[in-house]
């Protein structure tokens, strides 16, 4: 079997965590398929990346040019089309991130290569590729067979292949860059940091987090009042920010904040993986949701299957009683 490629993802000079997960997945598949794993590094001043990743792959393919310093899918697509055509990997692994979703479909389509996105598991045997994906808001899994081909490309969801220890001694191979300038039609200009809000939700020991289930902006006062009672602050999942009910700096999840409070109370949050990524590090998670099959219950320690507006007032009273008893 031909080699497996894993594309190294970096931003602002730092290798992103998902890279180690791609490499871990790649090593596993390479071992099973009796082949090798190549880490593909497109970057600038890559010596540091090479040092860090040397133990993680059998080979490191390095293309060093300032054009790769910041991600630009057009630049990456042109370069990778050349490289993949020349090297014919059986499978190219890319992260299912803002970077990967911008790149993979266009790159694979240009190469005429079967691809799919957001994979949780991968089986590669006898040149056949089967993946597991999640559909319908994460409520079902689908096993999918790709059209048989000499080469495949997929994006991997983060958190599915834990980064592992590896003591390989990767051979470093530097190649000339196929691209040296950004195209006029798509130029990276800058990164803009998120605005700092009035409350830093990452600093609070207790977070009361609301999702779609809060229904109306007007009901947020009930949640704020409850959070105050238990000495916490209010965070939320994406739909609440999209609706304009809470500012972006309260959003917890992949495109918002990552929080690790002592207590996380999720109210009316179904638990899309983008949200889970941001809160799974909490010590204790209590979830309230009407749907007994909501994915949040697979992450929570304690669950209450009910309407959050029935739970919150009673719970608030209990906590107040307990406080008074203590006081």
């Amino acid at each position: 079997m031909n080699e497996i490629f894993a594309l190294v993802e970096h931003r602002q000079g730092i290798i992103r965590d998902i890279t180690y997960e791609l490499l871990s997945c790649g090593r596993k598949l390479a071992e099973k398929g009796n082949t090798k794993l190549t880490a593909v590094i497109l970057g600038h001043n890559t010596d540091n990346f090479v040092q860090i990743l040397k133990g993680q792959a059998h080979r490191l393919l390095v293309v060093d040019n300032e054009v790769y310093e910041d991600f630009n899918s057009e630049v990456y697509q042109t370069a990778l089309t050349e490289i993949i055509k020349r090297q014919n990997p059986v499978l190219t692994l890319i992260s299912h991130s803002a970077f990967g979703v911008d790149l993979c479909p266009a790159l694979a389509a240009q190469l005429g290569m079967p691809f799919t996105t957001d994979c949780l598991d991968v089986e590669l045997a006898e040149q056949k590729l089967k993946v597991t994906r999640q559909i319908y808001d994460g409520k079902l899994n689908a096993k999918v067979l790709l059209r048989e081909n000499a080469g495949y490309m997929i994006t991997l969801r983060s958190g599915c292949f834990p980064a592992g220890e590896s003591s390989l001694d990767g051979v470093v191979e530097k190649i000339d860059t196929p691209v040296s300038a950004q195209p006029d039609y798509r130029k990276f200009i800058e990164y803009i940091e998120a605005a700092v809000g009035e409350v830093d939700i990452t600093k609070s020991d207790v977070l009361v987090s609301v999702g779609r289930g809060v229904k109306e902006k007007a009901y947020l006062s009930i949640i704020e009042d409850f959070a105050e009672t238990i000495g916490g602050v209010v965070g939320c999942s994406r739909p609440v920010v999209d609706a304009g009910w809470l500012p972006k700096d309260r959003q917890i999840g992949s495109s918002g904040k990552t929080v690790k409070p002592k207590l996380y109370i999720a109210l009316g949050i179904s638990g899309a993986f983008q949200h889970i990524i941001g809160m799974k590090g909490a010590d204790t998670i209590i979830a309230v949701n009407k749907d007994p099959n909501a994915p949040i219950f697979s992450e929570a320690d304690y669950g209450i299957v009910d309407d959050l507006f029935k739970v919150v007032p009673v719970l608030k009273t209990k906590i107040l009683e307990m406080k008074q008893a203590k006081g």
Binding site: F99, V101, F115, I135, Y185, Y191, S255
Partner: protein, 257 residues
Amino acid sequence: MDIIVCIKRVAQTAEADVKIDSSGKDIVKDRLTFDMNESDTYALEEAILLKEKFGGTLTAVSLGTVQAEDTLRIALAKGADSAIRIKAEDFEGLDGYKTAQLLKAAIKDLKFDVVFTGCIATDDYYSQVGVTLAELLGVPHATLVTKIDIQDTKAQVHRELEGGLIEHLDMTLPALFTIQTGINEPRYASLIAIRRAAKKEIKVIGASEIEPTGIQANASLEELFTPPAGKRAEILSGSMDEISAKVAGIIKEKGLI
């Protein structure tokens, strides 16, 4: 400014109980509601705002069964000038790649400056149709777009990255943008507009208009299954009073009261 927006009618599953049907390859749909895919509603709004600013035409396209025409009529009621439905019933094994190829076949002869799609469909969760379509049309793209500022043929574009970081791009039209939720406030269609849209003609194209040669899917579904329950939460039972007492006890135990 000529604009195309691709929209999809999907089962609303975020707060619904989703069950696998007897075929093992589809879901039980009779108790689900269907509506325009969430990020597509933002893509449509962005398209309407652009048309209001610059004038021109707005065409809404959807690959779906006849019910998708309801979704297209919502787009017409909100501000689209014309609508095209690609007959999903004419094509089998629709994955993201095949969908993109059919969309391309439907719009390739239309004049456009901008194509909008949503950034993800909540049913198949691909995030691949928009980018594939851009590649097939031969135009640049940007995904997860949270802001677009167009002047002449240049667009200043913001993309949403992880951790709330924004990427600012300078792009040239024509281009395709996949729109992230929250970019705008999607409007509601007025009753009068909905009534008017009910009378508008929707162009329907299918296998007799789209040459199927070379259009193939990348992926085929083998089976659906319920995700394995990892760590399961301890579900608290009893009266609301008992449940609340338990929760308060847990919080106290953690030293947080």
